[in-house]
């Protein structure tokens, strides 16, 4: 715990004592109003009959019960579960594998790391555009493979209602897996080599070394990766808009796209607010314990 500067000894005047708090207060006010005030406002709207414009007529839990009867919301939740779990599992598996491979005293490691991580610097709209046309059966992968002579090759997931959600997984994994790799690599570099050397002397194989000693020690990295990825999955919006626009039909609807279309194009603001509230609750369930543990631990 760091020491704190105290001003008492000099008997500083009121302004000098209050100055730090005055400097901090604009940010605090901004956050209280625009984050917490707005959350309260939207939460309140989710219990009102708001349509095009906010209304303050309370209707109880009606929006929530209607929300769960809307087919598109059911699809959005199912999609989030499919997308979220595949996204997290594949990113973690790929990230861990790449980190372990890169951790073998690789020449040009920095260069390879740069290549694996650059997608993180791109906008999801750019990623979505690139993959949208790459996966397009008419001009992308399918057309290319056919032009190479495999005439019957078919890859139309992006046009197929049952498979389109997996194209979102493909593009999202491409964008984020390098970042997860970097998180695991940082974790690997933090592991004490002495323990590994001792195990090696005892005759442990590389496989056993990783399975028994290294991977268990990466628990904090797994935690961070899970929190970051789960939170990104719940918030996913741009990528879906750019890649599939939520389609075909509503096949790739996610909670974020549902909220937007119900609130701003279908003029069902009450239901939109209810869906946003559920998104917030799920993120809070993941983030609050995480932030709590980060702040509580002594630095």
């Amino acid at each position: 715990m760091t020491m704190t500067v105290q001003d008492r000894s000099r008997g500083g005047d009121w302004l000098r004592d209050a100055l730090p708090k005055i400097v901090l207060s604009p940010s605090l006010v901004i956050v209280l109003v625009f984050v917490y005030g707005f959350i309260a406002f939207t939460f309140y709207l989710s219990f009102t009959d708001s349509r095009i414009l906010p209304s303050f007529e309370l209707v109880g839990w009606q929006n929530y019960s209607r929300l769960f009867q809307v087919r598109a919301w059911g699809i959005a939740i199912d999609n989030l579960l499919i997308f979220g779990s595949l996204y997290i599992v594949i990113c973690c598996a790929l990230g861990l594998a790449l980190a372990i491979l890169l951790d073998q005293k690789i020449r040009a490691e920095g260069f390879i790391r740069t290549i694996y991580l650059y997608p993180m610097a791109l906008s999801f709209i750019v990623t979505g555009t690139a993959w949208k046309w790459f996966l397009d059966p008419g001009i992308g992968l399918q057309a290319v493979v056919r032009s190479w002579g495999w005439e019957s090759f078919t890859f139309e997931w992006i046009k197929d209602s049952d498979m389109a959600i997996y194209t979102i997984v493909i593009a999202a994994v491409w964008q984020t897996s390098g970042f997860v790799m970097a998180m695991f690599l940082a974790g690997l570099r933090g592991i004490d080599n002495e323990v590994l050397k001792a195990a090696q002397i005892d005759g442990a194989s590389n496989w056993a070394l990783y399975r028994r000693i290294v991977i268990p020690q990466l628990r904090p990295a797994f935690m961070s990766a899970f929190v970051v990825l789960a939170h990104m999955a719940i918030k996913s919006y741009d990528l879906v808009i750019a890649l599939t626009g939520g389609g075909p039909g509503t096949a790739t609807e996610l909670p974020a796209t549902f909220m937007y279309s119900y609130t701003f194009t279908r003029n069902q603001m009450g239901i939109g607010a209810a869906s946003a509230t559920i998104m917030l609750m799920s993120i809070a369930a993941i983030m609050i314990p995480y932030i709590w543990s980060e702040l509580r631990e002594p630095k």
């Binding site: 760091t2 605090l28 032009s147």
Partner: protein
Amino acid sequence: MATNATATVVRTGAGARFVIYTLLGLFCIYYLLPLYVMVVNSLKPLSEIQSGGMMALPKEWTVAPWASAWSTAQIGVAATGLKPYFLNSILMVVPAVAISTVLGALNGYVLTKWRFRGDTIVFGLLLFGCFIPFQMVLIPMARMLGLMGLAGTVPGLVFVHLVYGIGFSTLYFRNYYQQFPTELVRAAQIDGAGFFTIFLRIMLPSSGPIAVVCIIWQFTNIWNDFLFGASFSDFDSQPMTVALNNLVQSSTGVKEYNVHFAGAIMAALPTLLVYIVAGRYFVRGLMAGSVKG
């Protein structure tokens, strides 16, 4: 991230090393493939793409798609190309990044060197604000911008990004200043230095690295934002990401894939350049947002 620390002591034979390098190389191809597709196809005539030649190098090289994407392509209702929207994004990013970084530095300074009862709670409140789904604030923010007379304007977008950028900038500076010796601050204070003198003379001169991390993070995030841009801009105040999406989605008639790819690279170029020039700081920013700083 401890990039200079020694790699794990695992020993690998020649055969295993061959497999490892092959795998690493294959994944390089995987990550570079979409970039290759974008670059190559932005430099060839549309007919070459339509005939199944997406993976091939251009037979006939041309910069016409770039010229079209920049200045003549149809975006929404106007055939202006992406140029005005690129400018919008710059006008939006620069003030939003500058102000949120300055506020973050001051907040981090107060929260670590002028601690008070409840400061951790204040920080926790700021921090959680970084991670909320912004769907939760879209409705009231739309009204608020209307009341402030900023609806559908670039200053309105600056304001929104500033508000939701403070949390992260505070996080960076707080974690960084926490490592800074408080004894120095205390000594300066005994010598009669005040709040701002200490900040300007002692804290700021050593804040270079974290300022770079913070600026890069905010720049990348705000430049790449789509949700706020789509929600709070009009036709003439759209940022680059929204305009790019309009270009790609709304084109009626023939889809000019080569123009779309050129536009996508334009939207990616500023953040990509920052990444190439200062990737180390970008990665540090990413990690500080997820792993203990």
